[in-house]
């Protein structure tokens, strides 16, 4: 589940705060948003084994928390995603030089991370080679962002007894393969809705999904300008 701070402010800004609890909550949210892109990136760019990539991912976030890496982020100079990736490359390069096995834990318990799940995803993606790692990292981050918004949409629909709305969205827009995608008529039959209800629920779910994606995006940006640039990039 995608646990972002209830305040819905920028997590990047919250990490610079003075309240330890707020900083910790923001950091957890950051790890939730980025651990999968980080793990996959380390696996592919640094040719790390699944076990090493898991250690490096844990070690990176642990060190970032201890050394307060992200409070040095300057929103006027780079996007937060770019900054994080640069820090990550530096961390992995140093770790490789020191040939140090990174230990998990170390005083701070990071939120539970299921590296097995990320590894299975990577195997499913069956990527032969990556030519542009910046684009790859962005795509994985986007996947994580959409997954987070879809999780929030599910929660919101359940809370409002609108399970049908999420079911329509899940089966139509989140269908894993285009060939498995049902028609509106099939969906109506499956969910015992009229076809008009299917299209209405789908429109409402998309509207809510878009709003949740932009909300999550705003939380992950360090400034209004960065949010502006990221949302424009999202619009193509």
């Amino acid at each position: 589940m995608c646990a972002f701070p209830a305040t819905r402010h920028s997590i990047v800004a919250a990490m610079r705060g003075t309240q330890p609890d707020d900083r910790r909550a923001a950091f957890d949210a950051l790890v939730t948003a980025y651990w999968k892109p980080v793990f996959k990136y380390v696996r592919l760019k640094w040719h790390a084994s699944a076990e090493d990539a898991a250690d490096l991912t844990q070690g990176f976030f642990l060190k970032a928390y201890e050394k307060d890496f992200f409070s040095a982020f300057d929103a006027s100079r780079a996007r937060f995603r770019t900054y994080l990736r640069t820090c990550l490359d530096g961390f992995v390069a140093n770790a490789r030089k020191a040939d140090a096995r990174l230990k998990r834990g170390g005083g701070v318990t990071l939120i539970p991370i299921d590296f097995g799940e990320a590894e299975r995803e990577l195997q499913q993606q069956a990527i032969d080679r990556v030519d542009d790692f910046e684009a790859y990292f962005r795509r994985e981050w986007l996947r994580s962002l959409f997954a987070c918004a879809a999780g929030r949409l599910r929660e919101a629909c359940v809370a409002r007894n609108r399970e049908d709305r999420f079911a329509v969205f899940e089966q139509y827009d989140l269908a894993p393969d285009d060939r498995d995608r049902p028609t509106y008529a099939e969906l109506a039959r499956r969910l015992r809705l009229s076809q008009a209800e299917v299209t209405n629920e789908l429109a409402a779910a998309r509207r809510e999904f878009r709003r949740l994606v932009l909300e999550a995006l705003r939380e992950q940006c360090g400034s209004d300008e960065e949010f502006e640039a990221e949302s424009q990039a999202l619009s193509g």
Binding site: L142, D173, A175, D177, R206, R210, S223, E228, S231, S235
Partner: protein, 288 residues
């Protein structure tokens, strides 16, 4: 996991706006503003082209549309229609204006009085907005259009503020650094003098003559209290310059004053000089 096809599908939701069910058909992208994308679209009911702005930012609601709807002025593009797309984005249709952006228009070699004439028209429009409590906050040559019939339009009111807006939204740092007043860049609440600053920056790019630069410098003083206190005072000083009179922002040396006097009364001075030369010539001929 979100599969590759699903990721592409979800990404596509953010790219082309879904105008199904509306009267508009998208033709091309006209530009990207502070808060959204402006498309050239066809209104299929009236069979005419319009500029259709799609607003990306959900929290901004219909800020610009509401502002434009309350500001009826020849220098402000009217809104024809407003609504919500199936994907939740807001749209509003505006008159499509054909012409050039001010920065491109100036690059095509316009003389000083023409350029300052356009600047004064911008000032008129901005002063009108201020009289209605609206501060534009993103004035720059790229947001001014000179139409094919000579009309001058101030565009992109997407980040403008009105007195009814919350203090937080008035303090949001938006705008373009080069034209942004220091208090706006610091994220403080701004008033109409932030627009005076931006107009000063625009004026600086319009003319390099000392009196005009002095006006521009005064308009873009760091302290709001040292600027022209309203757009009308700024425009009045530019008008004085155009009429060949002394401007308030510039203390003239004697030589400047004489030069300005010479420029302003060029014709009478020439006539008097011609008369005097002719007279001297006649006297000399009579003596010979």
């Amino acid at each position: 996991m979100i599969s590759e096809p699903a990721l592409d599908r979800l990404s596509a939701m953010f790219q082309g706006p879904d105008v199904t069910g509306t009267r508009y058909q998208l033709l091309s992208v006209l530009g990207r503003g502070g808060m959204g994308v402006v498309y050239l679209a066809r209104d299929t009911v009236l069979d005419r082209e319009v500029a259709l702005k799609i607003v990306e930012r959900p929290s901004e609601d219909a800020n610009e549309a509401r502002i434009l709807a309350r500001l009826e002025h020849p220098g402000i593009v009217p809104v024809h229609d407003f609504g919500e797309l199936p994907d939740g984005r807001l749209f509003y249709a505006m008159k499509r204006v054909r012409g050039d952006r001010l920065d491109r228009w100036m690059a095509s070699g316009r003389d000083l009085s023409e350029r300052l004439g356009v600047f004064l028209r911008v000032c008129e429009t901005v002063a009108f907005a201020h009289a209605h409590g609206v501060v534009h906050r993103d004035l720059k040559p790229e947001n001014v259009m000179v139409g094919e019939f000579g009309e001058v339009l101030v565009l992109d009111w997407g980040v403008a503020t009105t007195p009814s807006q919350s203090a937080a939204s008035q303090r949001r740092i938006v705008g373009t650094t080069e034209y942004m007043a220091p208090e706006q860049a610091r994220g403080e609440a701004v008033d109409h003098r932030a627009d005076v600053f931006a107009l000063g920056a625009m004026l600086e790019s319009i003319a390099e003559l000392a009196p005009v630069l002095a006006i521009a410098r005064k308009a873009r003083s760091d302290e709001p209290a040292s600027r022209y206190q309203d757009v009308q005072s700024l425009a009045a000083d530019v008008s004085r310059f155009l009429a060949g009179r002394a401007v308030e922002a510039h203390r003239e040396r004697l030589v400047d004053r004489l030069a300005r006097f010479g420029r302003r009364y060029r014709l009478p001075i020439l006539l008097v000089l011609t008369y005097l030369v002719a007279r001297i010539l006649l006297l000399w001929l009579v003596r010979v």
